[in-house]
Symmetry: C2
DNA sequence: CGCGCCCCAATTGCATGCAATTTGATGGCG
DNA sequence: CGCCATCAAATTGCATGCAATTGGGGCGCG
């Protein structure tokens, strides 16, 4: 039993949720930067679905605050203002303090092992690309939230964590995530010891330092080709290579 | 730049958001009970849109946790388990404590007047139907959240408040909201005085008592006709009476 | 030389149609 | 009399098509 089957935030049908996951991941890994355009056609083409589905997916992501939808205009990856970023971190701190409060002293050995394994993975990824490091660091927090068995906490922590990633790509410089690994380890240790007050403090300061490292100065925008950017994500999404849409030709 | 225009949670196009608002309100006023079926056809018919749009709206509401989407099955109003209800209240407490913490001592006179006016309205509605009382009580909390100027807080507080309404209709008995009015007044007073610690405590206990009043025993289900239930909401949504869909006939 | 207008390609907004799945009812069988 | 198989109606999942809006480039005008 334990976890419930539905797990994910809501994830209506199948195709829609596949696209959402792919785009979330593309955003979290900063392959899609804030402001990047997301035309329904291109998404549909890339993921092998109709515009209807692509559109639905964009709607979901907009509800999560990752995408901005303007009437009659091309959807874009959200570009949070500095103030919104600060707000997001404030909310995140409270939510994650709640997470660790609920978890302190209640984790099974298996769960602790799972957390440690995850941080090991983060450690192992230090040599690799920033994208992976960022993703793993974020997923650590989501993993924690999942252990509360509170779907609503999972959803909110996930959303707000993704949003914070967005702001990191806007306002932060690379390599700022590495030293977080030790903080993750400290949190696990405090959770295992069951020291509620301490783990809440650790989490608070951890997030504070992430926020402070991040919220310093604005950054420019690069502009790449959407189809190229999404290629690896689409491949992974439809494990059936590219697609089945018979009609539409590639843009080139 | 001060406030931004978009305000609402995301609300893609227009028709979709109209339907979402109508359904949210129907749910919050307990006209639509947990478990109530929401066939795309009927929604489309009632609101004068195609199934595509009705479906999109259901997707949004599912993302908010108000509606449950099961593949190939009719969507239903969500039926949170007792545990989920408890979790929702836990999250809500933290979020709303954050709200009042940010607001304590920072409200303008106009804002305080607005809050008092709202509670006056709640007071005035005591004679009326439960539906209106419940809605107003919930909207008080949303109004507070809006005053933080933090879109993400507004969104989360709104969502979780709606969800809590859902659980109230499941697990609570009528008339349980009335005495909340005094607590609302006390919160306003403490906010005005700027007593951060006290207002956080007040909010905490307020929500605790709402939760405790609510989470006691399960309740049965009535079953009415969806089209009838939605009539007043649809009327208000399309201020153009019922509608233009030529084809589908009423179910009866 | 710069500024504004117009027109066309690109794109969204939405309804409709068709195939696939589920629901519920009917009838046969133990 | 109750239970399961079978079939039709209801419903979803999704692609497609068409009208409306946008944005951008080129042209004319000041």
């Amino acid at each position: 039993m334990a976890a419930r089957a539905t797990s994910k935030t809501s994830e209506s049908s199948d195709k829609v949720s596949v696209i959402c996951r792919a785009l979330r991941r593309a955003i979290i890994e900063q392959a899609l930067e804030p402001g990047a355009k997301l035309p329904e056609d291109s998404l549909g083409e890339r993921f092998g679905v109709s515009r209807t589905i692509a559109r639905h997916a964009l709607g979901q992501l907009a509800a999560e605050g990752l995408v901005e939808l303007r009437r009659n205009r091309i959807a874009v990856v959200a570009t949070p203002s500095w103030q919104e970023a600060r707000n997001a971190f404030d909310v995140r701190i409270e939510l994650e303090r709640l997470v660790v409060r609920q978890l302190a002293g209640k984790l099974t050995k298996a769960q602790i092992a799972e957390l440690n394994a995850h941080v090991d993975a983060e450690d192992g990824a230090r040599g690799g690309t920033d994208a992976v490091s960022i993703r793993l660091a974020t997923e650590f927090h989501i993993l924690l939230a999942q252990m509360t068995n509170s779907p609503i906490l999972v959803r909110y922590v996930s959303e707000v964590a993704y949003r914070c990633c967005l702001t990191l790509s806007l306002y932060s410089r690379p390599h700022s995530t590495e030293c977080a690994i030790n903080e993750h380890r400290a949190i696990i240790a405090a959770l295992a010891k069951g020291d509620e007050a301490k783990v809440m403090d650790l989490m608070h300061h951890h997030l504070d330092s992430v926020a402070n490292r991040a919220l310093v100065a604005p950054a420019p925008q690069r502009g790449r080709d959407l189809l190229d950017i999404l290629a690896p994500y689409a491949d992974e999404a439809t494990n059936d290579r590219v697609v089945k849409l018979p009609k539409v030709a590639r843009r080139g």
